[in-house]
């Protein structure tokens, strides 16, 4: 009899403890999903053509070529141009133009080339390459080039160090904005540049 009472008591205590414990750990959850949300980043894409590559593409080559330059020579490049147009899903905010360059020394070295190492400091030659026309769709932007080294000339050195911004946004492909350039090799250029090749890369950047 006593044993039965003890067993019943233990069982009762166990049941109450189990229920209390279960209550303390109880929680439910439910998850629902919002599906099919699409996130897409836009694109800015500038396309180019030039006078001798008449299909729109990502970059053109050898647009302006001047050979046998000597100090004081001008190169109006009347026929040469680069056409710019835009593809992509975002309407850009502006167009920026700048440049980069390097110098290739002749091989073998010309005796009269007084600086056979211009390739190591191409800025010296860039400072003798004067820009005399910088037109976008017929509008002259030469005044927008800052005379960075304050030498009284607008050169490719200045353009590299102070890009021209705020130029008109090219229209969509098959319309196009046309960019034209004229160059003069400065009278001040000395024998340091004899036989040297100035390799210019014009850089057109669409900005949002």
């Amino acid at each position: 009899m006593e044993t039965k009472a003890v067993a019943a008591a233990i069982l009762l205590i166990g049941l109450v403890a189990t229920m209390a414990g279960a209550g303390l750990y109880a929680y439910f959850s439910d998850t629902e999903t919002s599906t099919g949300n699409i996130f897409t980043a836009g694109t800015l894409d500038l396309k180019t053509i030039d006078w001798n590559e008449l299909t729109w593409r990502d970059g053109v080559t050898a647009t302006w070529t001047a050979t046998n330059m000597k100090p004081g020579d001008s190169f109006p490049f009347d026929m040469e141009f680069v056409g710019l147009s835009r593809a992509g899903t975002i309407t850009p905010g502006s167009l920026e133009i700048t440049c980069n360059y390097n110098v290739i020394e002749e091989t073998p070295q010309t005796e009269s080339d007084t600086d056979p190492y211009t390739n190591g400091h191409p800025d010296t030659m860039a400072k003798q390459m004067i820009i005399t026309r910088f037109k976008c769709n017929g509008t002259e932007y030469l005044g927008s080039i800052v005379d960075f080294d304050e030498d009284g000339k607008k050169t490719f050195y200045d353009l590299k160090n102070s890009p021209v911004t705020g130029l008109p946004i090219p229209v969509v492909t098959d319309g196009g904005t046309f960019f034209r350039l004229s160059v003069k090799f400065s009278e001040d250029a000395g024998n340091d540049f004899q036989g040297d090749t100035f390799n210019l890369t014009m850089i057109f950047t669409l900005k949002q």
Partner: protein, 196 residues
């Protein structure tokens, strides 16, 4: 003679104690299993039928480029609202978000998402549930919902997505689909007893 009787009683008590302990263990296990989180369902809890269920509205994709436009560095923030409705009979809290990506998932590293639980009425300020990169949500993030949503009531979540100005060209043209999972938990999930 007396010792013999005492020994027999001791053995009996031990057997009883072991049986009771076993029964308690089994019962505990059963209760524990019954209270594990389950998907939208009706659960019998301590003899009472509890309906723990929620719905999201609208039941259509929130973000669509055809409507919202494309993301780019510094692009306008896109804000959408999602209502969480209690269609069960147990109050709940927003407790977790998780997002599954399909396509160019790398785009998620360049997008920021802010999730607010909007208050009721003018005076109540929105409660920030999450603010960070969208990609972090792929792991699932536990959040602390502000208000318990009672039976038949709802709460509005506000999702804002944007691309910071510092994002670069690596995100150009990327596109992905995101499935946003919202989880609600009973208000008792932190140790309180459910009140039905």
């Amino acid at each position: 003679m007396y010792r013999d009787k005492s020994r027999k009683e001791n053995v009996k008590h031990k057997q009883l104690f072991t049986s009771a302990l076993t029964i308690m263990l089994v019962l505990s296990l059963v209760m524990f299993m019954a209270n594990q989180p389950s998907a939208s369902a009706c659960t019998v809890f301590l003899g009472r039928k509890v309906k723990f269920d929620m719905e999201l509205s609208p039941n259509v994709p929130l973000f669509r480029p055809a409507v919202d436009g494309y993301f780019y560095p510094g692009s306008p923030k896109i804000t959408k609202k999602l209502e969480v409705i209690n269609v069960g009979n147990v109050p709940f809290l927003i407790c977790r978000f998780a997002v599954t990506f399909h396509g160019d998932a790398y785009l998620a590293t360049g997008l920021q998402m802010e999730i607010l639980e909007l208050g009721k009425g003018k005076g109540e300020k929105p409660h920030v549930l999450y603010n960070g990169t969208l990609s972090t949500l792929s792991k699932g993030v536990e959040v602390n919902g502000k208000s318990a949503i009672p039976e038949g009531k709802s709460v509005t979540l506000q999702f804002t997505v944007y691309m910071p100005e510092t994002a670069g060209n690596e995100y150009q043209g990327l596109s992905m689909r995101a499935d946003i999972a919202v989880t609600v938990c009973s208000t008792a999930h932190d140790g309180e007893t459910i009140e039905n």
